[in-house]
Symmetry: C2
């Protein structure tokens, strides 16, 4: 955590993504007093839902902290959101008649990076439902990947699940080798053959496929050749992202996101040796961002 | 064409797919007298639209033939449709209060196969917007692939375009080698970078990606290594489908669909040597099917 601030106010830190919005409220020393979680907050999937989720999570955090008398108009909010890398959405969210004393808006990538490196320069690879690389060095933000599913986001949970589904369909057709993931995937989807499987998976979004990622890692760890191939290909992409980010000379590099413990052992050794533990989670990065911006005013 | 029939009636042959419906009207000797083309006719994407497209294409074919006095209730129709491989859709279409004297319903795969082999046993690989393999031997239909986009349909136009887009996004990120398809794809999509490209391609259907397939084949023919890799992988899947179908001992195997001239040169030599020219198009296969079924009654 950064040292004490002279600012005696409370700060909200918001981390809003495609599936949920997390809020924390911290005191002047960045001590977390309460947390709140609400629904999706990516404005790309709906502006109204995003602003409602942000407001709701903030109220829940204040309630959780037992700060009954505190109102949203009394607090300064750092808000990190997925989607606002698109200029049109950044502008729309900036124009929101927000309920806070002040709001500082940033991308989910920037607040994740600031959190991981405690407000200092650094780089992160994020792999959860999606995947992405980001560095922030000398005031210069740099993004890699994160193109979305299914056309991008290699090495993400959705990508691993999708590769598994691809493989199983071809394997059931006799066009690829058998694998333990064939039956495991059919069981997981509660279907009996390829035809039923296709009916179940057709048109499904990233979050659906991401649920199958652990199954692939389990099989790979048990030595299944097909699963190992898939995991190697995805991990190799994440290693490539790290190598590319490293060219920006970030003082620290971290791997974050829900898939971190699964994919970490499969990264190239030179990359594994470089990685450092993230210091704070993204929502704390939002608070750090708000404090930094406030200091600049 | 099969020999003359004793039946003096006119026959309609319908080939209905996801983007259009083609109808022909033939005389007793299977001579094509007129053709008609209307909109989509895959009942999976809408029952009403499918039956309207079938009726409209049939009327257009009769009009094109100059058979002014002929009505739909006077003709026997062979109707091959995408989507009716799903039992629920086959039943729904079978229960249609159709306007024809008689209707014989089959999958688009069966009529394509019957057409290609002039009503005899055989196998087909179909690669256009989607891809699929099908054989019909001793009354036994056998389907391979055709699982749909983006989770299946490897070696299809959509798959080639999708692979190209995947590659270009990674290449623009510096994570894969450069290729002539990078600029060609950006130009084709009329975008200037990866960010604009993602906005353009996100959520697009198979038909959108299929428009980029020719660009990949052009680049591969010009010796671009990346394009050659993509084309080899797709063609190798189609060769695999052929090899798998061959285990059913079909007397003939043909490659059909819009991508045929592009992919043919890239198939494995043993497969190329096996392929025979399709005798008739799918809509003629529908007529053949209707005549065969009528003979069984």
């Amino acid at each position: 955590m950064p040292g004490s601030s002279d600012n005696k106010e409370f700060f909200l830190g918001i981390d809003g993504g495609g599936s949920k919005c997390k809020a924390i409220i911290v005191d002047a020393d960045n001590k977390i007093l309460g947390t709140g979680i609400s629904g999706p907050a990516n404005p790309l999937h709906g502006y109204e839902q995003a602003v409602n989720s942000i407001t709701e999570s903030a109220k829940l955090a204040i309630k959780d902290a037992g700060l009954g008398g505190l109102e949203l108009k009394d607090v300064i909010a750092g808000v990190g959101l997925a989607g606002v890398n698109l200029p049109v959405l950044f502008e729309q969210m900036s124009n929101w008649q927000h309920p806070f004393k002040q709001m500082f808006l940033a991308t989910d990538l920037l607040i994740a990076c600031l959190g991981a490196h405690n407000g200092q320069d650094g780089a992160v690879m994020i792999t959860g439902t999606g995947s992405c690389g980001f560095s922030y060095v000398d005031g210069h933000p740099y993004t890699l990947g994160g193109h979305g599913f299914p056309h991008g986001d290699k090495g993400s949970g959705a990508w691993f699940g999708f590769q598994a589904a691809n493989h199983v369909l071809m394997s059931l057709d006799g066009l690829k080798a058998d694998s333990v993931i064939n039956n495991q995937l059919l069981n997981k989807l509660n279907v009996k053959d390829g035809l039923e499987m296709v009916e179940t998976i057709a048109g499904k979004p990233a979050a659906f496929y991401a649920q199958m990622a652990n199954l692939v890692f389990d099989a790979a760890e048990d030595g299944d050749e097909i699963a190992k191939e898939i995991v190697h290909e995805g991990a190799s992409y994440i290693s490539g992202i790290a190598r590319q980010l490293d060219k920006q000379n970030p003082p620290r590099i971290s791997l974050i996101g829900g898939l971190t413990p699964r994919i970490m052992p499969w990264l190239d050794k030179d990359i594994k040796d470089k990685l450092e533990e993230p210091v704070c989670p993204p929502e704390v990065g939002s608070v750090i961002y708000a404090r930094q911006q406030l200091a600049l005013l």
